[in-house]
């Protein structure tokens, strides 16, 4: 359930009607403003207080205002975005207003627009809460002659055809769901007729296809697609009813885009997939809500849908157009990609190594000692801000109050308090930045605004060491910890356990 406010310089009532049919129970209020810039400039916090998402839509493909106007529009949107702590969707509908470029200098109209407004686009996309609503992409999909209805537009300020209205509504619903929910982290795939055409156990390695020929091309492109997702930070796993040697054989003998080692966990056995997927969750220490499961078999997909409803299920069909539609789905998108994300698979791999060794030691304490854990704590380091802000949105289990802070808010905390960030390394490798404590200072008193720790660092008592060292630092600076802001959420059970053992708690 979410609520959205539209500000647009075209009438969007038919789009809103379509959206309400797609997601009943959600609030969508549409404000038509003939002059959208003055409206944006006069926008007050009170007007936005009840909304989760703001959608700003100025259609210059239709209106054709001059370039100076379109530049100031971008500028004003950037200013509004800085003052509003909410996701903002902005349509990318800009135009070159009747410009006729000489044949040799035109790069194609979409690229020309990108070049003309490059500086403004860069400023907009550098803001953490601004997301593009790809209207031009939809227009290309439908075809511009089927997308715009200029008669209706000029009479009623509503310039879209029915196919356009449907596409805008669908894309909007998907994008809002994506922005208001948690991101997916893990992609679990079946093998036969999903990673390649054919059944390796029956057809044999030689007769399965994953190459550039007609039979194999869909699977070849699908593997390329998965490889690109891995590079953005998704973890890939296999869940297949097969003999492991047969599957390994495929990767050894075929020159496929994905390799055996690209998959961090492989559940290749004859157990049911519900058990296997639940096991993947336990071993990676991640909730199955962050999983995408892709299979060609509807029985497997439906059983997962039924029993693990948080998992997003994707049906890989043999139709190439359907495949392309699937690849554009928002479950495969990231809100933001940081350098730490690119290292994800490696970090989880070393974590699995640690788990294997854990079984050799008789006591957990003994094992933790053997890891040779090193904490690197930094105070008010501006360079950490993008990762810290991302953590406040993504961390659920060890998170004191699930308050999401944007980059500006973190900067503000650094200006008036002490913000501690924690990097951890042990003998197996680097964990990256995994911990954050925000404190606000007042006289000689300190208040802990939030404490969070990434789940891949949990289970090693790091959360206790970090806490103790922060308290020690505060007292060396002359501050006493007076209060901790803690709120129970359905997911922060590890944090609740921590609070209980520390005998601390927020006074209501």
């Amino acid at each position: 359930m979410s609520s959205c406010l539209f500000l647009s310089d075209v009438v969007l009532d038919p789009v809103v009607k379509e959206i309400k049919a797609l997601m009943p129970g959600n609030v969508v209020d549409a404000n038509y403003e003939e002059e959208i810039i003055p409206k944006l400039l006069s926008l007050s916090d009170g007007e936005l207080a009840n909304y989760d998402v703001l959608f700003i839509h100025s259609d210059q493909v239709f209106h054709k205002k001059d370039q100076g106007w379109q530049r100031s529009f971008c500028k004003v949107v950037a200013d509004v975005s800085r003052s509003v702590n909410k996701p903002i969707l902005v349509s990318n509908s800009f135009s070159l207003s009747f410009r006729q470029a000489p044949l040799k200098s035109s790069m194609g109209s979409v690229l020309d627009i990108r070049g003309t407004y490059n500086k403004e686009f860069e400023e907009l996309s550098s803001l953490a809460n601004v997301y593009v609503f790809d209207l031009l992409g939809l227009c290309m999909k439908v075809g511009s002659s089927q997308f715009y209805n200029y008669s209706l537009g000029h009479l009623y300020q509503m310039p879209y055809t029915k196919p356009a209205i449907k596409q805008i509504a669908l894309q909007f619903v998907e994008q809002v769901n994506f922005l208001t929910s948690e991101e997916k982290k893990v992609i679990i795939v079946d093998c036969d007729n999903t990673l390649w055409k054919g059944i390796v156990g029956e057809d044999g390695v030689d007769d399965i296809a994953c190459d550039k020929n007609a039979d194999g091309i869909l699977y070849y492109h699908f593997q390329q697609f998965l490889k690109a997702r891995k590079e953005e930070g998704f973890l890939l796993c296999i869940c297949s009813k097969n003999n492991e040697v047969d599957v390994k054989d495929v990767f050894d003998k075929k020159n496929t885009p994905l390799k055996w080692d690209d998959f961090i966990l492989k559940k290749i056995n004859w157990d049911d997939k519900i058990k296997n997927i639940a096991d993947i969750g336990r071993e990676l220490n991640l909730g199955t809500d962050s999983f995408i499961f892709i299979d060609d078999n509807l029985f497997e997909l439906n059983s997962i849908r039924e029993l693990l409803p948080g998992v997003s299920c994707v049906h890989l069909s043999v139709n190439y157009t359907d495949f392309l539609e699937n690849t554009e789905r928002f479950v495969f998108k990231r809100k933001q990609i940081l350098s730490a994300d690119v290292e994800k698979t490696k970090q989880y791999e070393t974590e699995l190594l640690r788990k294997n060794e854990e079984q050799l030691y008789t006591s957990l304490d003994e094992f933790i000692k053997s890891l040779d854990i090193k904490l690197d704590i930094r105070v008010n380091d501006f360079g950490d801000i993008p990762r810290l802000s991302q953590m406040t949105g993504k961390t659920n289990q060890f998170n004191f109050n699930k308050h999401v802070f944007n980059e500006d808010e973190l900067k503000a905390f650094m200006d008036k308090g002490r913000v501690y960030s924690l990097k951890v390394a042990d003998k197996y490798g680097d964990y990256g930045t995994v911990g954050l404590i925000i404190t606000e200072l007042n006289g000689t008193e300190a208040i802990m605004e939030n404490y969070l720790m990434s789940c891949r660092a949990l289970g090693k008592k790091i959360e206790y060491d970090f806490f103790d060292r922060v308290i020690a630092d505060l007292s060396s600076q002359g501050f006493m910890l007076k209060d901790i802001r803690f709120t129970e959420t359905p997911k922060n059970i590890p944090a609740q356990t921590f609070i209980k053992t520390m005998n601390y708690g927020s006074k209501p």
């Binding site: 009532d13 209805n149 008669s151 209706l152 009623y156 509503m158 879209y160 055809t161 196919p163 209205i165």
Partner: protein
Amino acid sequence: MVANLNDLNNIFSKAFDTATVVTMDSVRDDFEAWDSINYLNLVVELEDFYHVQFSMEEIKEMNSIKKIIEVLGRK
């Protein structure tokens, strides 16, 4: 393009979001729901159903069932 009342009933009901029955003699004033926003929806639905695009003149003209059928008849 020959429009029949049965199709028009469905199209009007969809556009006005309420079950609507039209006759050959129906005019704009007969329908409380026929305001400018719902007329927008109606034009969008008519264009989608009959695969046509109306000119501005035609959109201004269609204020009764007879007119709608006449305009569609010219397509």
